[in-house]
């Protein structure tokens, strides 16, 4: 047998999507009401109308091996099955088919801060969190000093963590997880939290772990980080394994696959909030003349086509739609909102349709931007998908000069002009400068 620390064979996970219900969870009264309704319908029509259930394979026939000491980047779009894979590996959920063999303890930084209780002090939380992550009391005791040194929170050990700043909170949480010393470490994109200094520390810890001969599974959307940190990569798309190769090849495959993409489905996304009165089912990028494009161009027009469907019988009233755009460091940089324009949709046709968000001249500089989609109907949140998808912006000809700011000189540009005034004219036009 090879030195595979993780062996995955034909792994599959099936979810049943319930179509008529849009609540996050079931309520008994709904079940009763539904059953009763079904019963009466049966009486009337003779055939049962039940809730339509649709099977959805979040993972299907995934097989791969991970060798001891390997640092594997797991890449894929949202909904490709990355989190499902991690959940199965950390035993949170059971696979529907297939088998996984793991040699050694697996710890995941999915769990950062899991089980922290705001009322308890830092000290108490270290013990609690350690136990939750699978450390024994003796283990925690022996690493206690190391943990607080790493977290830099010595002074606040006996303060309830509810008084901690979010930075301190994350530092402490990460410190506990980082000292778990598992044979296999799973890192999800939690590294986005915390300040830059701390992120560096986390990545450092990850490198240290992998240099120590231990295995790391790293999930990220940051291709640069994957290429820099991982020795190999694994690309997932729609629940299937696309590529298992070295990191560079995997990133390339992924990017190539992206450029060929059609409309990005959103209806399988489970991490959404809202009543479901209106639901976005896909998003697509288009340029000027409604032509579908793989990427936007800076300076050209950019259109996001959001296909939606509504579940209600009646037409929707007072619909507000907003798109929040974040840069790579998850900083919100733009908000496009019907409310800002005073253009909430009075009514939207029931059933389905497409909403187009048109940016006549895109001022975002080349890079990757994630966006959040939001809609409310009559003031009630209908659908809210945080970090729904991302788009890439390529260099374009914003100014008609063929020039754009070099990298590192901001995330967007704006039309501007420079003027020279002579002393004489300056006196005459001595108006207060308007500052916004």
């Amino acid at each position: 047998m090879s030195d595979a620390i993780i062996t995955v064979e034909n792994l599959g996970k099936k979810y049943s999507l319930r179509h008529q219900r849009n609540e996050r969870y079931t309520a008994l009264r709904d079940v009763i009401a539904e059953k009763a309704l079904g019963f009466f319908k049966n009486l009337k029509s003779g055939n049962g109308v039940s809730v339509s259930k649709e099977d959805f394979w979040a993972l299907k026939d995934v097989s791969f091996e991970v060798q001891r000491g390997e640092v594997v980047g797991i890449i894929g779009r949202n909904g490709a099955g990355k989190s499902t894979l991690l959940k199965i590996l950390s035993r949170i959920t059971e696979p529907t088919t297939g088998k996984v063999r793991i040699k050694g303890r697996i710890a995941s930084l999915l769990e950062v801060g899991t089980g922290f209780h705001p009322e308890l002090t830092g000290r108490e939380n270290i013990f609690l969190n350690g136990a939750i992550l699978g450390m024994t009391k003796a283990e925690i005791k022996s690493k206690f000093d190391e943990i607080i040194a790493f977290a830099e929170t010595e002074k606040f050990l006996d303060t309830p963590v509810k008084r901690y700043s979010s930075g301190m909170y994350v530092r402490l949480a990460f410190a506990v997880a980082a000292h778990l010393e598992p044979e296999i470490l799973v890192v999800d994109e939690v590294l986005a939290v915390g300040d830059a200094e701390f992120q560096k520390k986390c990545l450092g810890k990850m490198e240290q772990v992998s240099r120590g001969g231990r295995t790391v599974l790293f999930v990220s959307h940051n291709m640069a980080a994957i290429e820099a940190l991982c020795s190999s990569g694994l690309v997932l798309a729609e629940g299937k394994l696309v590529t298992r190769a070295d990191a560079k090849a995997a990133v390339e495959t992924y990017l190539r696959q992206l450029s060929r993409r059609g409309p990005l489905p959103l209806d399988t996304r489970r991490d959404r909030e809202g009543s479901g009165m209106l639901r976005f089912i896909s998003v697509e990028l288009a340029a000027d003349n409604q032509v579908r494009v793989p990427v936007f161009q800076c300076g050209a027009s950019a259109i996001l086509s959001l296909r939606f469907k509504s579940t209600g019988e009646r037409e929707l009233r007072n619909v507000r739609v907003a798109i929040g755009i974040d840069d790579e460091s998850e900083q919100r940089i733009l908000l496009l909102d019907t409310a800002l324009l005073g253009q909430d949709f009075r009514t939207l046709p029931s059933r389905d349709g497409t909403i187009q968000v048109v940016i006549p001249k895109l001022s975002l500089l080349p890079g990757r931007y994630h966006f959040t989609i939001f809609a409310s109907v009559s003031g009630v949140i209908a659908d809210w998908i945080k970090n729904a998808a991302f788009f890439d912006v390529e260099g374009g000809d914003f100014f008609g000069t063929g020039q754009l700011p070099p990298q590192g000189q901001g995330v967007f540009t704006t039309p501007h002009s420079f003027h020279v005034e002579s002393k004489a004219t300056a006196k005459e036009t001595k108006e207060p400068a308007s500052v916004s």
């Binding site: 969870y25 009264r29 059971e94 088998k99």
Partner: protein, 273 residues
């Protein structure tokens, strides 16, 4: 110590009891956390633990003892009522804590693996703190009324376990149902409130007509409360042995079916919570 872990459909089922043992430390920690949090959050936590059963007892003594003039079964009415308050409160608190425990710990369930049975089980421990406080109060009450238990007191732990097992069994059912149907949490307080009047807390079970006694004993708390009164009164309170056996049978059935249902639902907890 390197062991190979195999994950496949149905696998957790097989390793369940071994895992449960392996995660025992987590059980202690969760119980410790719940106790800590409970008495940190409420400044009047201890006072509350004293006041609630005490005031209920006063009302019951007034209504059942003074107004309805029900018989007090060999011991002063306040002692009789409070001896029932003690196990009832243990049952009620652990039942409501247990049935809510999965929801309040949903972030744990959706993020890490451990046998889920740990959560409702550890939440039962919290109610022991209130129980200890009330027990002290009962001791004071007994001193005041000069009630001496004698050797019968040795049976008290057995009846305490009886109460805990009953509440755990029911708690497992409710906890699992709570995850599946979120509006079940409205049912639990109602059940607890109803149970307070259906169980012989404010009155002696001796006033139940003989022919109904067996059916009445299907409520496991009847046996527990009778047992409590019997052991603290030094055997003076009435003791209906067939009823105890029925209660015990119901309790065991409740626990076993509770574990069965909980385990059946457990696999999908992380997906639906």
């Amino acid at each position: 110590m390197e062991h190979e872990l195999v994950i496949e459909a149905g696998q957790t089922e097989r390793n369940y009891w071994r895992d449960l043992f392996r995660y025992r430390e987590l059980f202690y920690f969760l119980a410790w956390r719940d106790v800590l949090v409970r008495y940190k959050q409420t400044v009047i936590g201890v006072l509350w633990a004293v006041l609630r059963p005490f005031l209920t007892m006063v009302v019951f003594v007034f209504i059942f003892g003074r107004i309805a003039k029900l018989p007090s079964d060999g011991v002063p009415y306040p002692v009789m009522v409070f001896a029932a308050m003690l196990p009832w409160q243990l049952f009620a608190t652990s039942l409501s804590e247990g049935s809510n425990s999965l929801i309040t710990n949903s972030n744990l369930i959706s993020k890490i693996y451990f046998p889920r049975l740990i959560i409702p089980a550890s939440s039962v421990i919290v109610s022991f703190v209130d129980f200890a406080i009330s027990a002290a109060l009962l001791a004071l009450l007994m001193l005041w009324y000069h009630v001496w238990p004698g050797l019968h007191l040795l049976a008290l732990p057995i009846f305490t376990i009886f109460a805990v097992v009953a509440s755990t069994g029911a708690g497992l059912w409710l906890a699992a149902l709570n995850v599946e149907y979120r509006d079940f949490r409205y049912v639990v307080p109602f059940l607890v409130q109803l149970g307070l009047y259906v169980s012989p807390v404010g009155f002696s079970s001796a006033i139940i007509p003989e022919k109904w006694r067996l059916i009445y004993s299907l409520n496991p708390m009847v046996g527990v409360i009778d047992g409590f009164r019997w052991s603290i009164s030094g055997g003076r309170a009435s003791f209906f042995l067939p009823g105890i056996w029925i209660g015990l049978a119901v309790t065991v059935l409740l626990l076993l079916s509770g574990i069965w249902y909980f385990r059946r639902m457990e696999r999908t907890f992380a997906d639906v919570i």
